[in-house]
Amino acid sequence: MKKRLLNILNLREMRKLVLSNFLTFLLLILILPSSAETYAQNKISLDVQKESLKDVIKNIQNQTKLRFLYSSQDVENIIVKDVKIKNASLKDVLNIVLKDSKLVWEKEDNIIYIKLSSVISSQIPTIRVKGVVIDEDKNTLPGVSVVIKGTLLGAVTNKDGEYSILIPKERVVTLVYSFVGMQTVEILYKGQEEINITLKEKAVEIDDVIVTGIFKRKAESYTGASTTISSEDLKRVGNQNLLSSLKILDPSLYVMDNLDMGSDPNALPEMKIRGTTSFPTTSENSFKGNYANKPNQPLFILDGFETTVENVFDLDMNRVSTVTILKDASAKALYGSKAANGVVIIETKRLLGNKPKVTYVASLNIEAPDLSSYNLCNAEEKLQAELIEGVYSSGTFLNDKVDNLRLYNERKKTVADGLDTYWLSKPLRTGIGQKHHVSIEVGDSNNLRALIEFSYNNVAGVMKDSKRENIMGTANISYRVSKFIFRNIMSMTRNKSNESPYGTFSDYTVLNPYSRAYDTETGSVTRWVDDNTNTPNPMYDALIGTKYEQSYFNFINNFYAEWNINENYKLTGRLGLNLKSSDSDDFLPANHSSFSNYSYTSDELKLKKGSYTYESGKSESITFDLNLNYNKTIGKNSIFVNAGMSVSDKNTNAKRSVAIGFPSNMGADLNFARQYADEVTPQSFSTLQRELGFLAVAAYTYDNKYLCDFTYRLSASSLYGKDNRWSPGWSLGIGWNLHKEKFMSDLKFVKQFKLRSSIGLTGNQNFDTNNAITTFEYYTDRNYKGQVGSKMSGLANSSLKLEQRRDFDVGFDLKMYNLTAKFDYYVGNTKNMIADISTLTSTGFSSVKDNLGKVRNTGYELSLSYNVIQKKNGFFSVFASATAEENKIVKLSDVLKDYNETQMEIAEELGRSEPVLLYQDGQSMNTIWAVPSLGIDPVTGNEIYVKKDGTLTNEYSSLDLVAAGDKDPKYRGNFGFNTEYKGFGLSMTCSFLAGGEMYNSTLVDRVENIDIYQNVDKRVLQGRWQNPGDKTKFKKLQGINTVGDKKTQSTTRFVQNRDELNIASISAYYEFNNKILRKTLFKRLKLQFYMNDVAKFSSIKVERGLSYPFARNFSFSLTATF
C-alpha cells in the first residue's frame, strides 16, 4: 500500500473546489498549517482591539501552525474586543478569546475544534467510535470530515486515514463522511465500535460544462443546442465502435443503413445531422483508401483537431471520455465554414486524480450472420421456375430441344438424388474477434501526469477471412508549472484490414442450388459449379491465394499549451500533426474466376491472367491555433470573450498501378508480374486544402438569468477562387434561465428550465477538388508526333462560393423531479449548394460546378429521461428520444431541369430497376420517383399504369413519374431503460424509424427482373401471375425470350412503407463489490455482456446485405482496475 502525503497545493485547490461546488449545510473550512509536522509549543501573542473571531483564529493559526476546524456559521458575527496577551500558552489564549462567546474548544491530535458549547453536553454519555476511511483503490484518505448528521460535531481523519469521534449514547445517529471529489456517504450508527468506510470518486459531472473543442463553456450559461454523451452511456449500448454506439444514442445523428455493405467490418458508415443538404457529386476518385469526405458528412473534432471518419471508426472506445454533438448555429459557428453539416466533438480521457492506476479491458466479440432477409429457391423450386420460364423448351432445332430436355432430366435426377447446395452459407462463418485495452495512469506528483494506453482490436467479419485489425498506442502527458500547463497527446495506430478472398456475397446469392460446391468423389471444392455453363465456383478463389488487403499507419501528435495569465486571462495554443500512410494490395491469381472468361483462351491473353493492384497513399495535416480567453464577473454581470486564429494545411496524395500476367498463384508479389495492365495508366489522386481563420466569441450573462452569445468566424480557404476566398460564419444565441427567476425558484421541484434560441450561418467544405481555379492536365493516352500536349481539366468557376447553411433553432432544457427533458425546433436553409450544372457546350465543356438552389430542412428533436427509482442499492431509469425531419427543395435554378431530363431518359432505359433521382421544387431531395401503378391486371398479367391525365395504360413512360415517397424516414428515435441493483445492471435500447418509404429494388430484381439462369426469390413461383384470373402482386412469368424487353421499371408497386423497430442493444453487467475485491489485487472488476442488432421488425421485406451480409453481435467484456 502506498502512503500519500497531503499536498498543500493540492488541498488548497480542493478548498477552492469545496467553496465553489459544494452546496451543503455544512460549511467546513480547513485552514492548514504550511507544515503539519511543526507541533505547537510556541507561545502566542495577541493584540486585538476589535477584530472578527475569524481573523483572530487565523492569527493564532499563523503563529502556532495548528489546524483549526470550525463551522463558519458559528464564528460569524463574533467580534473579539480588547485582548492583549504576550507569550501566553495556546490554552490561555483560546480561553480568553472565546470567553464572551458560546463557543468552546477542544484539541485532538493537531487539530483544534471550535464548536458551540451547547452541543457538547458532558452530561450526555458518549461512546467513542473509530475507523479508517479509504478510497476505492484502498488508499487511506486523510482530511475526510466525519460529522454527526444534524449537528456540528465531528472529526477529521489523520494522515493514516484514521478518525475517532464521540457519539451520544442511545440516540439514533447518522454519520456523514465527506471529502472533496468523493461521493458523500451517510452511515446509520448501529452501535459498532469501528466503522471503516470506502469513499467512491465522484463521477465527472459532464453536465456542468459544454466541450466545444476550442474552449469549455459553463452549461448553465450556454445558448447552443448540443448533446453530450458520456463514455458510460457509450459503453452501455455497445462496444463495437463509437459510431455504432452514437447512432443508437442520439437519433439526430442519422447513420444510414448500408443495404449493400451490411456489416462489413471495413465499410465506413455514411451519416448526416439534421437533414440532407448537398447534392450527390460525381467523384472521379475511385481509390480504395479513404481520402475524401462525403458531402453530407459532419465535421469530426478529436481532442480539438479535425479528424476523419475513419479515425473515429477505428478509435478505441475505451479512450473516449465524452462526445458532444453540436447541432445549432450557436454551437457550431466556432467551426465556421466547415460546420454546416454539424460537428461531432470527441474528447479522450483526461487525467483527473494523481493515483497510479492500471485498467484492463478485454472483450470477446462474436458476429453471427443474419440471413433472415433472404428467401431464395431451393434446388427443386429453382428447377421448376426454370421449367416455367421456358429454359428447357428453347431452341429452334430439334437437336437443341433434345439437348435442353436432356439437361433438365439430368438436373432433375441430381436434385432427386439430394443435391441442394445452400450457397449462402458457403462464404460465411461466425466471426470471433477480440479486443484488449490497457491504460496506465502514472505521475507521482501533481505537476507531471501521464496516461499511457495500448489497445488491440480485431474485428472478425462474417464473411470468411474478412477482418479489421487495429493496434494503437497512445501517450498523454501533462506538465504543470506555475501558470503554465503543457499537454501532449500522441497516438499511433496500425490498421490492417482484409476483405474476404471469397469475393462478394452476391456472387453466392446468384448461384443455382442444383450446382455443386464440392466434387462428388474427392470432396474438394470444384473449380466450376456447373460444367454445362462454365460458371466458376467463387469458393475456389479463396483457395488459391486471392488477397484483398489494406493497411494504414497513422501518427497523431497534438500539443497544447495553456497560460493562465491571471484570473481573467488565459492564452491557449495548440499544434496538431496528423500523418497517415496507407497501402492497398489486391492480388488475383491467374486462375481466379475473373479470368475464366472465354476471351482468356487466346495464347496472348493467357499470359495476361492474374492481376495485382497496388495503391499507396499519404496524407498530412498540420493545424495550429491560438486562443485568448477573457473571463470576468462584475456583480451580476459575467463576460466571456475569446479571440483566436487558426492556420491549417491538409494534403493527401495517392497513387495506383495495376500489373498483370502472373505465372503462378504463389507469386503474390509485384515482382512476378509480366507487365503493367494494358491501357491502364498509373493513376494518382491528390487534394490540398489550406485555411486561415479568425474567431471572435463574446458571451454575456446577467445574474445567470439572461444569456447572450455571439460568435464570428472568418476563414479563407485555398479551395475557393480569388473572388470568394474569405467566407464568414456567425451566430447569435440568447437564453433565459427561467428557474432563476423569483416566480420559478419558489417551485422547488423545478431544478432547471432554460429557454434558448439561436440563429446563424455556417458553411460546408466537403468538396475535394478545386473547382474555382483553372487547372491543367496532360494527354497521357497519346502524343503529337512525340510532343506532349496539355489541356484544361475542366471549366473553372472563379465565382464559386461556399455552400452555406442558415440555421434557426429554438428549444428548452428542463429538469424537474426526476425528469430531464430537452426539446429543439429547427429550420436550416442551405443555399449556394454546389452541383454540376450543365453549361452551353460552346464553352467547350458540358458542365461546371456552380452554386444553385435552396433546400430547407426543418425538424423537431425531443429527448426525455426519467429516474423512476434512485436508491442506494440501485436505480431504474427510462429514456426516450425522437426526431422528426422534413427536407424540401425550396428553389432550384433552371439548369437542374436539364439534369432532370437526362435522368428521365435514364429512367426509360430497359432493365433499370432502381428509381432515378429527380429534383423538383417543393419535393424532398430524397424523393422516390415512380410511375403510379394499379397493380397487375388479373386478365393479362401485365401491369396497369396511371398516366398524368388519369388514363390507364400498359405502356411505361418516364413522363408519368410522380413523387411516390421519401427515402428518409420522417420520424426516428430510440427508447429504453437502464437499471442497476447491487452491482448488477441491465439496459436495453430500441430504435425505431417511421414515415419513410423505400423502393424495394431487390424484390424487383429477384422476382420480376430475374435472370432465370441465376437463383431467384421463392415468390417467383408463388407470387407471380400465371393464369387469367390470378390476383397477384407480381407480373406474369415472361418466358425466357422476352424477359429483356419486359423488365419492370420504377413503379409505385414497389414503393413500400418503411417502418422499423430494432432492438438495437441489450447489455448486462455485474460489478463486484468492494468487500469481495478487498482480498484480491483488483480495485475494480466488472463483467459485461452485450447483444447488438438483436432483432429487427420491419414493415418491408427486403434483401439486406447484398455484397456483404448483416450480422448480429454478441460480446463479453471484462474491465479490471489494479
Partner: protein
C-alpha cells in the same frame, strides 16, 4: 496587464505577418496532381504543351481524326456506299439521309460542336496568358506560339461556321444581320452573344491576319530554314511544321475563309494570297512538292500537305471502316461501288491513268456482294515504314491552292484559260494529260467540282465544295436525286444552346 498587452502585440504581429507576407501565395496552391494556370504558363514549354494539346484536340476522333475528315463529310457528299445502313446504332446511315435529329447522329454532331469549342477554350488560355508572360519566351517562340494560337482559334471558328452555318454565303444578302456561330475570344463559362456573319468574319479574318503576321518567323519559310538547327528547335518542337498551322497553312485558311464568304471583293483577296503561295512555292527549293512516287509507303502524299493532323490511333479506327480484305461481318465498312468509282474518275475518258484511281483505291471483289468495290487507301498504314508518313490525316493540300485559284480566275476574271492551267498543274501531277473541259464559267465550275471529288476523296473537301457553292441537287449511290437545302447543309446547334437563347435560322 502589461504582460497581456505584450501577448496581444506578439499575437497581433504574428498574425499580421502571416496574412501580409504569404497569404495570397499560400492560398494559391493546388494539389500535385493538378497544374494551375500560373504554373502551366510559367515557362515557354508550358505554352508549347498547351498548344500541342490543342492540336491533339483537333486530331481527336470526334474531329479531324475521323468524324470531320474521312468519315462524315464524305458520307454527306454521298461518296460512299455504306454497309452500316442496316444498323440503326450507327450514325452513318442517318447522316447519309441528312437526319440530324436522331439520337445517334445528334450525338456525333453535338460532340463535334463541343470538341471544337473545347479546343477554342484551350487555345484562348494561351492567348489570354501569353502577353503577360512575354518575358519567359526566347527566340521565335512568342510570335510562333501566339501566331499559331490565333490561327487555331480562327480556324476552329471557321470550321464551326462551315458546319453549322449557312450554305452559299455568296448569295446571302443579310449577312450584316443574320447571326452566325458564337465567337469565343475568352476561355470562360459565360454566355457569349452570337454576332452577325459580317462581324464574325471580321473577327475570324482579324485572327488569321494577326496570325500570319506573327508567323512570318516560321522556320518553314525557306529564308528561316536555319532556325530548325537553332536553339529554338532544341527539343524538336519545330519539326513537322505541316502538322501545325504554319505560315502557309494560315494563309490557305484565310483564303478559304475569303472564298467561303464568297463576295467578289473577298475572293479577290483570296486570289492575292493564293498567288503569293504559288509564287513562293514555285522556285527551285519548294516547301511543298508534288508527291506522286512511292504511294505505297506514303498514300497520304505527305510532301504536298500544307496542313495535316496526326492521330496515333488512326490505324485502329480506320480498320473498322476501310477494310482491304472485306469481311462480310464488318458492318461499318465504307467503300465506293464500281459504277461510282468509275464515274468519279471518268475511267471511260482518261481516268484509268489517274493515280488517284489506280493507286489510291483498292479493288476488292467478293461474290457475296453486288460487285467489285473500291476502297480508299489514303489511310492504309500497313506498308508505311517512314515515321513521318504514319498516322497522317491531310487537311489542306497544295492542290487546293491551285483549285481555288482556278476558281478565282474563272469567276473573277472570266479567264478560263488561266483557270485551266491552274487545274492542269494538279491533274498533271495525278497522271492526267488532258485539260479540264468546260466552255463557260458555269460548265467549268461543274467540272472543277468533279476534280474536288477526285482529289479529296476520303478527305471531306467535296462536301464543303457543295455547300460553299450551294449545289442544289446531289445523286446518291443508288442513283436517286436528292434536293439539297440548308436543312441538309446545316448541322443543327445542340438543343441546349437553342434552349438557352442561341439562334439558328434554317430555312
Amino acid at each position: 496587464m502589461k504582460k497581456i498587452n505584450k501577448i496581444k502585440n506578439i499575437a497581433g504581429v504574428l498574425t499580421l505577418l502571416l496574412i501580409m507576407s504569404s497569404c495570397s501565395n499560400w492560398f494559391d496552391e493546388t494539389p500535385d496532381s493538378q497544374i494551375r494556370d500560373e504554373e502551366q504558363f510559367s515557362t515557354e514549354i508550358g505554352f508549347q504543351q498547351q498548344l500541342t494539346g490543342c492540336y491533339l484536340g483537333m486530331s481527336d476522333n470526334d474531329l479531324f481524326g475521323k468524324n470531320l475528315s474521312w468519315l462524315y463529310p464524305d458520307i454527306l457528299s454521298q461518296s460512299y456506299e455504306n454497309r452500316s445502313f442496316t444498323l440503326s446504332s450507327d450514325a452513318g446511315s442517318y447522316m447519309q439521309a441528312y437526319n440530324y435529329k436522331s439520337s445517334v447522329s445528334m450525338e456525333v454532331i453535338d460532340k463535334m460542336w463541343k470538341s471544337m469549342y473545347n479546343v477554342i477554350s484551350n487555345v484562348n488560355q494561351i492567348i489570354e496568358n501569353i502577353d503577360e508572360r512575354k518575358d519567359v519566351f526566347t527566340s521565335i517562340n512568342y510570335s510562333m506560339i501566339k501566331g499559331e494560337a490565333l490561327a487555331v482559334r480562327g480556324y476552329m471558328h471557321f470550321e464551326l461556321m462551315r458546319l453549322y452555318g449557312h450554305s452559299n454565303l455568296a448569295d446571302i444578302t443579310d449577312k450584316a444581320s443574320l447571326l452566325a456561330i458564337p465567337y469565343y475570344l475568352n476561355s470562360s463559362k459565360d454566355f457569349v452573344k452570337q454576332l452577325s456573319y459580317n462581324e464574325t468574319f471580321t473577327l475570324m479574318i482579324k485572327d488569321m491576319e494577326e496570325a500570319i503576321e506573327l508567323l512570318k518567323k516560321d522556320p518553314i519559310i525557306l529564308a528561316n530554314n536555319d532556325l530548325y538547327n537553332s536553339e529554338a528547335n532544341v527539343d524538336g518542337y519545330y519539326d513537322y511544321r505541316n502538322l501545325k498551322i504554319n505560315y502557309y497553312a494560315a494563309q490557305a485558311i484565310l483564303a478559304q475563309i475569303y472564298m467561303w464568304e464568297g463576295s467578289n471583293e473577298n475572293m479577290r483577296k483570296a486570289q492575292v494570297i493564293l498567288n503569293n503561295i504559288i509564287a513562293e512555292n514555285n522556285g527551285e527549293n519548294n516547301v511543298f512538292t508534288w508527291d506522286i512516287e512511292g504511294l505505297d509507303d506514303n498514300p497520304a502524299q505527305t510532301d504536298e500537305i500544307l496542313f495535316a493532323v496526326n492521330n496515333m490511333s488512326l490505324s485502329s479506327s480506320v480498320t473498322q471502316y476501310f477494310s482491304y480484305n472485306f469481311a462480310p461481318t464488318l458492318y461499318s465498312a465504307i467503300y465506293l461501288t464500281e459504277t461510282r468509282a468509275k464515274d468519279i474518275f471518268e475511267t471511260n475518258v482518261d481516268g484509268a491513268g489517274d493515280i488517284r484511281f489506280s493507286k489510291l483505291l483498292q479493288l476488292y471483289t467478293n461474290l457475296e456482294f453486288d460487285g467489285p468495290m473500291y476502297i480508299p487507301k489514303k489511310y492504309r498504314q500497313e506498308n508505311i515504314s517512314i515515321y513521318e508518313n504514319e498516322d497522317i490525316i491531310p487537311i489542306i493540300r497544295l492542290s487546293e491552292i491551285y483549285l481555288m485559284n482556278a476558281e478565282c480566275s474563272a469567276v473573277l476574271d472570266n479567264d478560263l484559260v488561266e483557270a485551266k492551267i491552274f487545274v492542269q498543274v494538279v491533274r498533271s501531277n495525278r497522271g492526267l494529260v488532258t485539260e479540264l473541259v468546260g466552255d463557260t464559267v458555269d460548265e467549268f465550275l461543274v467540272q472543277l467540282g468533279k476534280e474536288y471529288a477526285r482529289e479529296y476523296l476520303a478527305e471531306g473537301g467535296l462536301w464543303f465544295w457543295y455547300k460553299r457553292n450551294g449545289i442544289g441537287v446531289l445523286e446518291n449511290t443508288a442513283g436517286d436525286i436528292i434536293e439539297m437545302n440548308d436543312e441538309k447543309y446545316m448541322f443543327p446547334f445542340p438543343d441546349f444552346e437553342i434552349q438557352n437563347g442561341r439562334e439558328q435560322k434554317i430555312n
